[in-house]
Symmetry: C2
DNA sequence: GGTGTTTTGAGGTACGCAACTCATTTTGAG
DNA sequence: CTCAAAATGAGTTGCGTACCTCAAAACACC
C-alpha cells in the first residue's frame, strides 16, 4: 500500500564505522585525495555502495563555504532568443541566491571563433562552470577543452560542439527539429501539390544546416509531390529575408509551404502578406512576442520551440549538479522539441 | 560586458545588525513566532527587503534536522500513466535521498470519493506534503482542506480540485488540450469534408469533459464543415471502445477524423484497422509504449502529451519549495501541452 | 633491525541557520 | 509610580560535511 522510494539517514560517521576506518579516511576516499591504500579504498566504497549512501547535499554545500560562480557566454547584440534566456535567469535570482550561486552573463561575438575562444580562455579559473553558445570550430573546441582540463564544468547551450570534451549539451536535436517542421508543413498543406520554400540564416551555421537536412529528409521521403526550392539565405535579417522571399513568391505562383529556419520572421511574414499569399503554410522556430502574434493571427501555422526558459534553467541545474558531483537527471534536462500551434501557446 | 544576476552573501547576523535587533528577534520574525512588536517586525522585514536577503537554503535545511516526508496518493490498479509517474519518481531516488526527502506511494481507489477522502484524512500529521490525483467531489475537497489546515502542503496532480484550498495544481489545462486536439484534427484532415468521431472514457470525468468541451469549441468555430458525432463512452476499456467505434464506422462512411480523449487506445486502433479506415486522422493522448508504436506506424497522427516525468518531478519540486517557504518557479512547474508526432517523439 | 615513507586515526574548526533557554529590558495598565 | 506582561538580548547546541593538522601506526626496503 505505502511503498517507500527513499532511505538513507546515514552519515559519514556510520560509513566510517561500517568500513572500520576513521572519518578522515572516508573523507579522503570521497574526494579522491591521496594517501589511501587501494584495498582500503575498496572497503570504504563497498560500505558506501552497500548502504547506497548519499552525502547530505545541504551539509556538503554548507561546509564548503565558498559560493559557486557560473558564467553564461552569449552572443552580443539584440537577439530576442538570448534576451529571453537572460530574462529567465533573472526570474531565478531568488532561487540562485538562496543557494549562493552567482551567475554572470558574458556577451561576446560568438560568431567569430577566435574572439569566442579568447573570451572562453579569459574565464579560466574564475568560474566553477561555464555555459556557452558555441560555434563549432577548432579553436573554440580547444578553448572548451582547456576549460575542462582546468576543472571547470562546461555546458554547451543551444548550439553544440560535439567534438569537444564539454560535459553536457543543453539544446535540441536540430535534425529532428527539421524533420518535425517537414512533417508539419507536409501534413498541413494537405492534398494540394506545389512548391515549398526554405528561408534560413545561413547554411554555414551548424544548427540551420542540420534543420534543413532533416526537413529535406522528410520532404523527400514522405511528400515527394511537394518540390523543395533552393534555400534562401536571409542572414537572419528581416529586410533581406523579405526581399529574397518576395522575389521567390513572384516567380513561383505554386508555393504552398514555407519553412523559416532561423530569425528574420518579421520580414518573412511581411513578404507573405504583401504578396497576398496568406494561405501558404508557414512553419518557423521559437515562440517570441512576434511569432506569438503571427500564430494568433493565423499567419504562422506552427512554431518549433525549444523553450528558452527550460534551456536556461536546465543549464544552471546541470552546471550545479556537475559541480556538486551529483548525477544529472537526463530526462529532466533533455530539451524537447515543442510543436506550438495557436491553441497550445504557452 | 559581465553582468551579475545574483548577490547576497549576507547572513542573519548581518540582518540583525542592520535592523538593530538581536539574532533571536530576526529568527522570531522569520518564522512568525510570537512575541515581537509590530514595529520591530517591520524594521526587520525592511532590512531583509532592503538587502534582498535570502536565507541560505543549505544551512536552513541542515539546521532543521528532521527529514521531510511526502506522500503520493495515486490510483490503484494497472494504469500505465501512473506507473510511469512512479517510475520517474524512482529515477529521482538519488536526488531525493541526497536531500533527505522521503517519498511514499499510497495506492487507493481515487474514483470513490469517500475512499479517497478517507485515505487523505489518514495521512494527516504524518507528512509534510501530499500530492494527490484527486476527484472533484465535496468530500474530497473537505479532506484536502483539512490537510491544508493541518499545515500539510497539498498539490493536486493530473486532475485538479480547483474549489479546494490546495496550494498548487500540477497538470495541464484540459480545455486547451482539447482545443489543441481539435486544431490538429481539423488541420490534418485538410480540405476534405466529413464527420469527426470522439471516443472518451466518460463524460463524467472532469478532465475528459473539459477536453471534449475544448475540442468542440474549436471544431464549431474553425471547422464547421466537419460534423462532430456524439461522444462514444468507452470507459477507457479497449474492448468496449473497439465495439462502439466499429459500429460507428460501419454506420458512417464519411468519418475523416477521430479524437480519442482517454485510454482504450488499443481498441480504437483495432477498430480503425479492422474497418480498413487507416486514412482517418487519429489524434489521442499520452505517449506510451502503445501510442508510440501507433505513431511510428502512422496509425496515429498525433498525441497530446502531458509528460509524466515532468509532472512527477514538478510535484516533488513544488512540495519541497512549499515546505521550505521558497517561491515556486511558475514557468518551470507549468505543465505544457506537448504535441507529439512521429518526428518529435521523445 | 633500523630507516624512511606511506597510511591511518583523532580531533578540531567552520559553515549558517533552527530552536531553544533564561535573564534582562521595555512597555502599558492601573 | 508600581508591577506584571510583553518584548528583546545573549547565548548555547546541533545539523553533516569539508578541510586541516599532527601524531601514531603500518608498511616497504635494505
Amino acid at each position: 500500500m505505502a511503498e517507500t522510494l527513499t532511505a538513507s539517514a546515514l552519515t559519514l560517521k556510520d560509513i566510517a564505522r561500517e568500513a572500520g576506518v576513521s572519518l578522515a579516511t572516508v573523507d579522503r576516499v570521497l574526494h579522491n585525495r591521496p594517501g589511501v591504500r587501494p584495498e582500503t579504498v575498496r572497503r570504504v566504497k563497498a560500505a558506501i555502495e552497500r548502504n547506497s549512501f548519499q552525502p547530505h547535499v545541504a551539509a556538503a554545500e554548507l561546509a564548503r563555504g565558498r559560493a559557486r560562480r557560473f558564467a553564461f557566454v552569449m552572443p552580443s547584440g539584440p537577439n530576442p532568443f538570448m534576451q529571453q534566456i537572460e530574462a529567465y535567469l533573472g526570474e531565478m535570482s531568488g532561487w540562485l541566491s538562496a543557494r549562493r550561486l552567482g551567475v554572470e552573463m558574458v556577451a561576446t561575438d560568438v560568431f567569430d571563433p577566435s574572439v569566442l575562444a579568447a573570451s572562453l580562455e579569459a574565464l579560466s579559473g574564475d568560474y566553477d562552470g561555464v555555459a556557452v553558445v558555441a560555434l563549432d570550430h577548432p579553436s573554440v573546441r580547444a578553448a572548451i577543452n582547456d576549460l575542462v582540463d582546468a576543472g571547470t564544468q562546461v555546458v554547451t547551450l543551444v548550439s553544440d560542439v560535439p567534438s569537444s570534451r564539454r560535459h553536457h549539451y543543453v539544446g535540441i536535436d536540430n535534425i529532428a527539429a527539421g524533420r518535425t517542421a517537414g512533417a508539419l508543413v507536409g501534413r498541413l498543406v494537405g492534398q494540394k501539390s506545389g512548391k515549398v520554400a526554405i528561408v534560413a540564416g545561413s547554411q554555414g551555421l551548424r544548427d540551420h544546416a542540420e534543420r534543413i537536412f532533416g526537413f529535406n529528409q522528410v520532404m523527400a521521403s514522405e511528400f515527394p509531390r511537394l518540390g523543395v526550392l533552393p534555400v534562401l539565405e536571409g542572414r537572419d535579417e528581416d529586410d533581406r529575408s523579405e526581399q529574397l522571399l518576395a522575389r521567390l513568391l513572384a516567380r513561383h505562383a505554386d508555393i504552398v509551404g514555407l519553412y523559416n529556419v532561423g530569425a528574420g520572421t518579421q520580414g518573412v511574414a511581411k513578404a507573405l502578406s504583401d504578396a497576398g499569399r496568406d494561405k501558404v503554410v508557414f512553419v518557423g522556430h521559437d515562440v517570441t512576442v512576434l511569432t506569438r502574434r503571427l500564430l494568433l493571427q493565423g499567419v504562422m501555422d506552427a512554431a518549433i520551440s525549444q523553450n528558452p526558459g527550460h534551456e536556461a534553467r536546465a543549464a544552471v541545474r546541470v552546471l550545479l549538479a556537475l559541480a556538486r558531483g551529483e548525477p544529472i537527471l537526463r530526462e529532466q534536462e533533455k530539451i524537447r522539441i515543442d510543436i506550438v500551434m495557436r491553441d497550445n501557446l504557452p
